[in-house]
């Protein structure tokens, strides 16, 4: 982000962090960890104390960015990054006909982070009546990639098929 220093590499969001809710949860986890380590510090505990057990999301972002959260500066850096993501990252809302599996979401997030934006977040909705495909809503636009829309686009083709069947 803009306020991060130029010599430090850009932090990346792991694929497990999908939605703004995940980012909020990460911020809460980092703040909790920061408070805990600050308590250790105030109690005079050594900095070589073991890293407490953290959540899967936090673990994934630590691994992805090779962070040492025992260092207060890195914790602050992560916290600042997460807060900037929460406020500035683009959010896409995609609805599917069925609840998507985690592997599906991972593949989708991979493509979105690579092609759209490295910090894009995703909220997932459920629309059983669309059958197949998906509905995508960005900041100002709405895209209908559903099977129904596909049928509507190819309505003339469908009509021609029906008329041929009716003639025979």
């Amino acid at each position: 982000m803009a306020h991060e220093s130029a010599d430090q590499p850009q932090l990346v969001l792991p694929l497990l962090v999908v939605s703004p809710v995940d980012v909020g949860r990460l911020i809460r986890d980092v703040e909790t960890l920061d408070n805990l380590l600050m308590q250790y510090d105030l109690k005079g505990a050594t900095h070589e104390a073991k890293m407490p057990k953290v959540s899967l999301l936090l673990d994934s972002i630590i691994d992805a960015n090779k962070l040492d959260l025992l260092v207060p500066a890195q914790r602050q850096r992560l916290l600042a990054f997460l807060q900037s993501v929460r406020t500035q990252a683009p959010v896409l809302h995609i609805s599917f006909g069925a609840d998507p599996a985690a592997s599906f979401i991972e593949k989708l997030m991979t493509w979105l982070r690579r092609e759209i934006s490295p910090q894009v977040l995703l909220t997932i909705g459920l629309q059983p009546n669309i059958g197949a495909g998906c509905l995508v809503r960005s900041t100002n636009k709405f895209y209908d990639f559903s099977l129904r829309q596909n049928f509507t686009k190819n309505r003339e083709l469908l009509m021609a098929s029906f008329q041929e069947v009716a003639k025979t």
Binding site: S103, G131, V136
Partner: protein, 208 residues
Amino acid sequence: MTIWWLLLLLGFIGATGIAFIWLIVKVGGTAKPAKKATGVDSIQEAADADVEHIFNEDFREELRNRGRLHFEKIIGENAMFLQQDLRLTTSQLNEYMKTEIASKLKEEFKKYEESIMDAKQMAIESIQKTNAAIDEQRALLGQAVQKEIVAEKQQLVQRFEQNMTDIVNHYVISAIGNQIDLNDQLEYILADLEANKAAMIEDITNGA
């Protein structure tokens, strides 16, 4: 005509009655005893006595009887004539009444028949007009129903064509909706996203 005949007949009966009374009075007057002649009228008296002798009480009684019989005969004849006239009058009256009543009845029947015929004609005309109106209404109704059916059919076809994509979509979803795995759709979803990638990036970059 009949009333005059009746009056004439009553007049004749009245005249006959008056004549009969006069005759009785007259006969009674002749039966009075003659005054006795006194002195010089002996011849006359003798003649009267002879006359009295000839026209004695028996002869007079015989004359009275004959007169009575004649009168009775006349009365009987007149009564017979009267009866005949009465019968004739009655028969004429009957005939006249019959004729008059028949003519009146015929006239009334004719009027009644004419009024019946007029009413019948009016009823026939009214029925014909009603039938014509019903036929016309039926034709109009048939045309309207036919038009409505065609419009409804066109509307149904149009509605079907408009909602055909939804119908097919609903059918596809009902038939195989649960069997389409999202992982199988991923390629198509990514292809759609790829096709609209530029617009999405533009929206994310320049959007609010």
